[in-house]
Symmetry: C2
Subunit: 139 residues, 2 copies
DNA sequence: ATACCAGTTGGAGCGCGCTCCAAGTCAAAC
DNA sequence: GTTTGACTTGGAGCGCGCTCCAACTGGTAT
């Protein structure tokens, strides 16, 4: 599979794919007779996994490190395991934080809802939601 | 409260606070006799809420819009309510996604674990985890 | 043979969200 | 009244993660 087809399969632009190879985010693809990249199914699977890491906020530097370990062979599995465990915990922590944020948003939504219902006192909003609580109007 | 104290309270640099005011992410603070910003408790509460939105990926542009609505007074509460509801759903969706990712990571962790245990076949790793599955070694 | 187009390279540019800087102002401390 | 230092402004610069570009090459189609 050449870069155009691979780009279609992954949804990443050819430029981005070349960039990823340049910085070591994907193992260097083999080249055909004409020097063009030749991607295989293994690359496709790696890109999918990379997307998991990327979309959960892993930094490029850390992913590079993972790729480097991967290239060093099976004896680096314990290191990769440790990285994945660390990342898994980060993801779990972030998920817990999102849950907290949802309760904050829900509280605010309930407050606004009560205001639009007309079932709240006018200054129920002064708690971080309207600007003209104190002093002059601030434009 | 002047910008230095406010910076300490919020954990944001004075530069960032001025930048936020410039782009309309915080309502313009009042000025004292010498033209210096004077922040109050309402600003503090706003910064906390802003942090909630920011840390859950709301774009500056959208937060600006929210601030603008806020400055327009209580009649914009329905609009703000709609924005918060939309954002709340985004956060919930993201949280669901993180949960999925955790199961992917857990699967991979379990696989690696079984390899380090020695309880797996050598080619259990060829599924997106080692690079030398096909062809030549790719460096 | 010629045209075409997908690919190659290195490097410049971009959007975001800050972060830093230079030049100037003002209130308080000495 | 001079120094200090926290502040003001507008604007430049930066790190990240792409994204685009110019100049070139190599296989395929006519």
């Amino acid at each position: 599979m050449r870069i155009g087809a691979f780009s279609r399969r992954t949804g990443l632009s050819a430029d981005t794919l070349r960039y990823y190879e340049r910085i070591g985010l994907v193992p260097r693809a083999g080249r055909d007779a004409g020097g063009r990249r030749d991607y295989g199914e293994d690359h496709l699977r790696w890109m999918e996994f990379l997307d998991v890491l990327k979309s959960t906020g892993m930094r490029i530097e850390e992913m590079r490190r993972y790729v480097a370990l991967r290239a060093d062979g099976p004896e680096t599995v314990p290191d990769r395991l440790a990285m994945l465990r660390t990342h898994r915990e980060r993801v779990a922590a972030e998920r817990a934080r999102l849950l907290e944020v949802e309760t904050v948003l829900d509280a605010k939504i309930a407050l606004f809802q009560s205001v639009t219902d007309g079932s709240a006192s006018p200054n129920a909003l002064t708690c971080a939601s309207t600007t003209s609580g104190h002093k002059e109007s601030r434009t």
